[in-house]
Symmetry: C3
């Protein structure tokens, strides 16, 4: 998430009641969790073994729970509970707004776009031209939708990331301040659920078509012209290339990279990165030729043992 | 789809701006894609290698993009873009009608049928007697529902087929002009999605019960007295017999035939036709006895290799 | 289900038009199907091979279709169709009430709880304090929700059990008179479906978090602080311990017991009870170490056969 306007780190430190270490004149441009940080971003770390990763990341400002030396050119913000402080920051810049009307006053809806009844368009949503938003759809706050997009009935766009921090008091939810961005000519099937990014964006690329009941996790980035069949699910932070085809009921784990033009057979369970242009199959998914050879060998195994142990 | 009234082919040719070849006096009764054509139907073909299949099909009138001789007794309609012409024909006879009210004026709802709040009943829907249509349901245009049918909350019936033509400009959607037909005593679970046929019907047979979040693709025909457990998905054009039991999270690929009284275990992935009366299991699904023998053999394999390579 | 007040068995027999055998002075406290009976409960049995199980169960009153001697201290209620009689009893004490308003007059909603638009809260629902019930949610009759619970958009809570009796006339549905109970600090994801108990309760434990489109069958009991990822499904009557983690698209069959702190990998299909504290994987799911050894062996099999049969 980018802040509505740049924030000097001194001001940030005061606002968060944190102790400033290192550069005192930096300007914070936004905030992001560690997977998505860019220069100017605030991030946080609260487990010592990840300090190094956070300090060497692109983030300019790091909230943390130990007084250490700041790397050159960076600002550290020391406080007792970095996670809660980060959550508070998210809540400050993207406050929770209850639904107050079917279509929020702050939603910006382009010419030629139709919104059917029983549909809720949240606050600060931007929808382009000539879209069709069907009945019983929910479009969460800050969602951005391009032109010529079709949202089928019952789709739910912009729900919270399923992302919790385990604490002694139970699971505490990361405050999702990210967005969902749906590019031109995309289609979202009936009953799909698309989580918003934790602090970044979940993106459905231009011309990509989702069938019914597809689930897209937080911060997933799907490329252009993909076809994703019914009941498929994609875990958080995964990046999918262009022209990818996922057949029905495929599952793709979190934090993976799927190359361009990959084809994944129905019901496959993907647990590793997939190379561009290849076909995959099975649980766990492997390259289709290899998997079919294994299946063929397995077919022979009962008879082999029957002979071998005769 | 049958046309509301028969259309002489000369009139059709003029309407579509197509060149008429062969029989000039035929009467078109309806339209269908190649999997479902009947005598009197219009269909189309635009890839030369499929010309023969289309010309020899039951279709009486074929829209195509090459001037060739018409088979005896058939009419060809030559035009530059048969797919678009076919889509236009679908749109002409089944125009798109936005939702205008919770229950359309043109819906015909039988005696004793209850419709709960927040539910949308589309145009030209017919619902029989003593049905119960729960809250937050969407029933799309032209759906036909028999007597004593229960539709649980949040079910979405009659959404578009997930069926696209790949073109240089991206995926172009087939205009779905088919319907969903739900026969007497059927039950549709909460959050189910049932696509309408592309040009034909998707059918849920009498007495068949769908659990929550089942997905049924376009033009699927499910027989009578089937039990289909939660989160199962069935691909387009597949035909399922009577008295079939599909356990939870089963996936059945498109264009298959599943015999009567078949039982498919939970999570199985069916990629081939299944014989009547048998039980199936696994990914890809095989006959249960065979699959269990393979699993038992696989169990022994690590120890076998440990001994063999010792 | 407990009856609103205790019912003497003589009164019950008269009400159900059943013949009383055995103890005539018992007081019925509630009703339950055989999996969940407690002392004071009415249950039924109509298949002779299950008579013994029913008679020896904790149930105090058994509806059955044969005149036999009552065990000491129990009452038998003889009638022609015990299933229908039991269904009638359920319907009598928990009559079907159509939705009449967005929030029923009889719903009891705690202080600080927010209910968004387009949401339906059924009759006799109890919701605690500081809950957030999002838009397009349906909460069925008699549901009980604790404090600080978040229900995401489009969740459907308290739908019928998918539970039918096969008769010559087709499937007849068990009348679900059970409830859904969601304890404090739980979260129910967008598009989840949770069935009510047949005659008992479906329970989501305190602090447990469900991701989007999870399906929970009838009478399932999920413990505390579990994490259940998207598109997972849990079959009826299954009991899940505390601190369990189910990754995405897991399926768990009906009538199982899953120990505390179990972890099940994505897409696994669980068909047996799972031991506390272990990790599981695969279809059918086995202990992860064992399954990975099998997978590693299978990888070698094609080359082994190639050498062996050379």
């Amino acid at each position: 998430m980018k802040f509505p306007q740049p924030v000097p780190v001194r001001e940030l430190a005061a606002q968060l009641n944190a102790e400033l270490i290192g550069e005192t004149e930096l300007i914070a441009l936004g905030m992001n969790e560690i997977h998505h940080v860019q220069p100017g971003d605030v991030t946080f770390v609260d487990v010592e073994k990840y300090f190094d990763k956070a300090l060497k990341s692109a983030a300019s400002i790091i909230i943390l729970n130990k007084r250490i030396d700041a790397p050159t050119g960076k600002t550290l913000l020391y406080c007792a509970d970095p996670f809660q402080t980060y959550n508070n920051l998210a809540l400050h810049y993207r406050p929770f707004l209850p639904v107050t009307a079917a279509v929020s006053d702050t939603a910006d809806i382009g010419e030629g776009t139709v919104v059917e009844p029983n549909t809720i368009i949240g606050h600060h949503v931007r929808i382009g031209q000539n879209c069709y938003i069907s009945a019983n759809v929910i479009i969460g706050d800050h969602t951005v939708i391009g032109d010529n997009v079709l949202i089928q009935p019952g789709a739910i766009i912009g729900t919270d990331a399923f992302y919790f921090k385990k604490t002694a008091a139970g699971f505490v939810k990361w405050r999702s301040c990210g967005r969902v961005v749906i590019e031109d000519d995309a289609e979202i099937g009936a009953g799909c659920t698309i989580n918003k990014g934790v602090s970044s964006d979940t993106v459905i690329g231009a011309g990509t078509k989702l069938d019914c009941k597809v689930h897209v996790g937080h911060d997933v980035r799907i490329g252009k012209r993909c076809l994703i069949a019914a009941q498929t699910g994609i875990g958080g932070n995964t990046v999918i290339g262009d022209d990818v085809v996922l057949y029905g009921q495929v599952g793709i784990a979190q934090n993976l990279t799927i190359g361009d033009k990959v084809v994944v057979s129905a019901k496959a369970g993907v647990s590793k990165d997939l190379d561009a242009g290849k076909s995959y199959f099975g649980l766990p998914a492997g390259e289709a030729r290899k998997m079919y050879r294994e299946l063929a060998a397995l077919r022979l195994l009962p008879e082999f043992f029957a002979q071998y142990y005769k």
